[in-house]
Subunit: 498 residues, 2 copies
């Protein structure tokens, strides 16, 4: 987890906002019939009148008083008339709105200005406007991990490992990964002229790419040995339900005998989408999730689908939040599926977005409901406890090196300890891992440097540190090191009737 | 400095808000003639019309638009109608005001609710309602440092070193110093029944004290050897000017030959007060400070006093902020006084308070002007550079021990390094100070424990840590360790014509 934020791969845009999306009921219900919108999403429209009457009762108290309005107007006036620096109107107004929402002390409630609202919409729909290349930062260079299938980047002939050095004449040197990504992205229909360095090609390559809407795939399916299927969901976005069903049908047509649903590091998404996916596994009429409003009134959402005749398990970790937890809870309690991995994040609230109410392209995402598991458990700040707890190897959590100074023999620091963990994870054994740079540590560093064709100094300089981190990331991505996946396969093999 | 915040003495109330007071022009000018108020404080009322016309020009742009007002009202309504938890009206409104001010990104601009506004007023006037005892926390007990002269605490017979164990029947055990202080304080006229333990007296003593308005002395004068006077100013509060002049006159009547004005760790205060004090030393008509408004218009404040025939120096450190810097700048540039010590904090803005405008007991403190030194230097984020730079001994900056674990031989940590600095400062020499707990470090700890009558274990447990910290605080308060003061005396002795 710690690794991820700082060094690992970043989709062009996606991921920037992903951690802020968590079980959002995506819509702007017409004010004031808020609850009806939930009701319609949950398919319980017969309750609409009932929930409306509750809103009605609060309506009188909800209006801001003239006295309060005047206090806010006075503050506005003092700032615009007297503050030392002249301030944009929007800065003050957005400040007021941010301040009101911040006073709720709820990390999941926030205001988004026009630009943020647009990014949020892109993020929640897992689409954005750009060229469609997954990029990463390596040794200060922007490197293509892979072009997205069917994207303008792929069609234009961008390859994995290409280094992007400039966009429309602007050099990317010295930018952070996010800054570079912002230069590459742009509105649909506009051009990105890229200058690219490709291994084996002498001169830089010039490519002109017309940006388009890019869909980021949120569902990844594989058939493993023994007809065990694995479907990874990275986010519950607009099209995730359709894609999931397509992939599931495909696996079933190939003789699926057991299914692993992998929601590790999935931050959540849309409530209706997770409900749709759960409906593939929960018997008709059984609850998937209960939604509770501010007055404590509970509303169950029941499955309209049917159960499967093959076993299903769910893979979770600390990064499985919100919609992922709804899925884990529903399958655990209403299907009897085993949840395998780590205790989940623990987010038991539902947010609603209010774009229409603001009417100017900005948006408010606000916590409006709690959700409970089918048996009525509120897992907020607790998470879903796995039936089978499995931690990944320690090196999955290693801290990136600070690269503030070279590391060398006879010194002692947290960085040395992290480096020792990386050396051991990549097969270069050291005698200690306590952060003391021993002779054997130096010997291991030399062997590593020889293997990756760096000068054999025994000192961890920033080039060695980069290579070490890349080697560890490779190990982390190697399925044979994925102890949680192994446990899931083992459990399914027990359950499958051969 | 680091020591101060966490462990050292705290006046009852004062100090809690002191760091937020910085050159405040204390008043609520009638809206919209803001600038006239500054003009009147600076004695330049002939400029009033001129500056008003500027405000007038902005007035049209300053009013909040209906569209913005409606957006704020909508947000208010969404929160009070739909947010998962019910929220107090004031929470939302104060949130809006805090948010507008926070958007300015100015640490010196803030909203104060009724309670905070009252505390601020007390703080800026260096007065509060309570019993009038300076207390500290020692080994978890609230200990009286000294009763304030003329206070109810002194009249009731409270002594230095008394331990206060309960207030009106409520035990103070387990409270922080601030929590205990809040119990001891209270409105004028109310009773505080204290239970006190006094060394040498068997049973606890019961004292009933009627709380009153307490003035905290912000001016401390002493005559040193050679008729060198020292006046320390701890804050520029309402009465500070009068008290300063009284103490100065008193020193002069005793044959003052040179003066040290000590504004170290003085966070500032009222602009008119520092101007009054500077007027004692700056020749009539010479500038003390220039004030610049948002349109870049500068207004000098000139002295109405006269210069002195004895030399004056100013002692500063990193904690000398705002009004203290106005004083240092004025004396340095308009009198030619030497500034001695460390570069000052660097705050070059003036705040105005707007209580009348809000009209409900709350208050907004907002940055409205810049101030510049007589020669037109804006020292914001730079500070005043001393003519003679003198740092205090290293142990003045030692970090308090974390007391998370006992410290013992053959371990290594930042805590051990701090402890070694404390041992050396108090005369228990160690061979190293790099944080490695050597044999000699253990020997020094044993000697220290013997001297302060603790069990001689050679291990720094929390009792030993407390005693070590107290010993260092004693050294810090010892004038013979005050290298900056020594340099000031030396400089004055050079300048004084004997």
């Amino acid at each position: 987890m710690q690794f991820k934020g700082r060094t690992v791969l970043a989709f062009v845009l996606l991921g920037m906002l992903a951690s802020s999306i968590i079980t959002v009921v995506l819509m702007s219900p017409g004010n004031p019939a808020l609850s009806s919108a939930l009701a319609s999403i949950l398919g319980t429209s017969n309750k609409q009148a009932d929930m409306n009457s509750t809103s009605g009762a609060n309506a009188a108290a909800a209006k801001i008083s003239d006295k309060d309005m005047s206090k806010i107007a006075t503050t506005y006036q003092l700032i615009s008339q007297s503050y030392l620096n002249k301030v944009e109107n929007d800065t003050i107004i957005n400040g007021a709105i941010n301040g009101m929402l911040a006073a709720l002390d709820d990390p999941f409630t926030s205001y988004m200005d026009q630009k943020e609202a647009k990014e949020f919409d892109e993020s929640i729909s897992s689409s954005f406007q750009g060229i469609g290349a997954e990029v990463t930062m390596e040794n200060g260079k922007v490197k293509v991990v892979s072009p997205i299938k069917g994207s303008p980047a792929e069609k234009a002939g961008i390859h994995s490992e290409d280094i992007i050095i400039s966009v429309n004449g602007e050099k990317l040197d010295g930018l952070t990964l996010n800054q570079a990504v912002m230069k590459i992205r742009g509105a649909k229909g506009t051009q990105a002229k890229l200058e690219i360095i490709r291994a084996g090609v002498g001169d830089p390559i010039q490519l002109t790419i017309v940006r388009a809407d890019i869909d980021v795939e949120t569902v990844h399916a594989t058939m493993l040995d023994g007809n065990i299927g694995k479907i990874e969901i990275t986010q519950f976005s607009t099209n995730t339900g359709d894609h999931f069903i397509k992939e599931l049908t495909d696996l079933e047509s190939k003789g699926l005998k057991g299914l692993i649903i992998d929601v590790r590091n999935d931050p959540g998404g849309l409530l209706n989408v997770v409900v749709e996916i759960c409906s593939q596994f929960v018997s008709k009429g059984k609850p998937i999730v209960l939604v509770e409003d501010r007055n404590g009134k509970q509303e169950p959402t029941v499955s309209k689908g049917s159960s499967k005749d093959y076993p299903v398990v769910v893979l979770t970790n600390k990064g499985s939040a919100s919609a992922s937890e709804i899925l884990a809870g529903a399958l655990q309690e209403s299907v009897g599926s085993k949840v395998i991995g780590e205790t989940t994040y623990g987010k038991g609230t539902v947010q609603v977005t209010f774009a229409k109410e603001l009417g100017d392209g900005s948006n408010i995402k606000m916590t409006v409901f709690k959700w409970l598991t089918p048996k009525g458990n509120w897992i907020h700040k607790k998470g879903i406890t796995p039936d089978i707890t499995v931690e990944q190897p320690d090196f999955f959590k290693v801290t990136p090196l600070t690269k503030k100074a070279d590391l060398k023999i006879n010194t002692s620091s947290d960085d040395v300890s992290s480096a020792q963990m990386m050396l051991n994870a990549t097969g270069y054994r050291t005698d200690r891992s306590d952060g003391y740079y021993s002779e054997q540590t130096e010997a291991a560093v030399k062997k590593f440097q020889q293997a990756v064709q760096l000068p054999v100094t025994g000192i961890i300089d920033s080039a060695t540190a980069d290579k070490l981190e890349q080697a560890v990331i490779k190990e982390i991505k190697d399925p044979s090191n994925d102890l949680q996946l192994k446990a899931a396969i083992e459990e399914l093999n027990k359950q499958i009737v051969r």
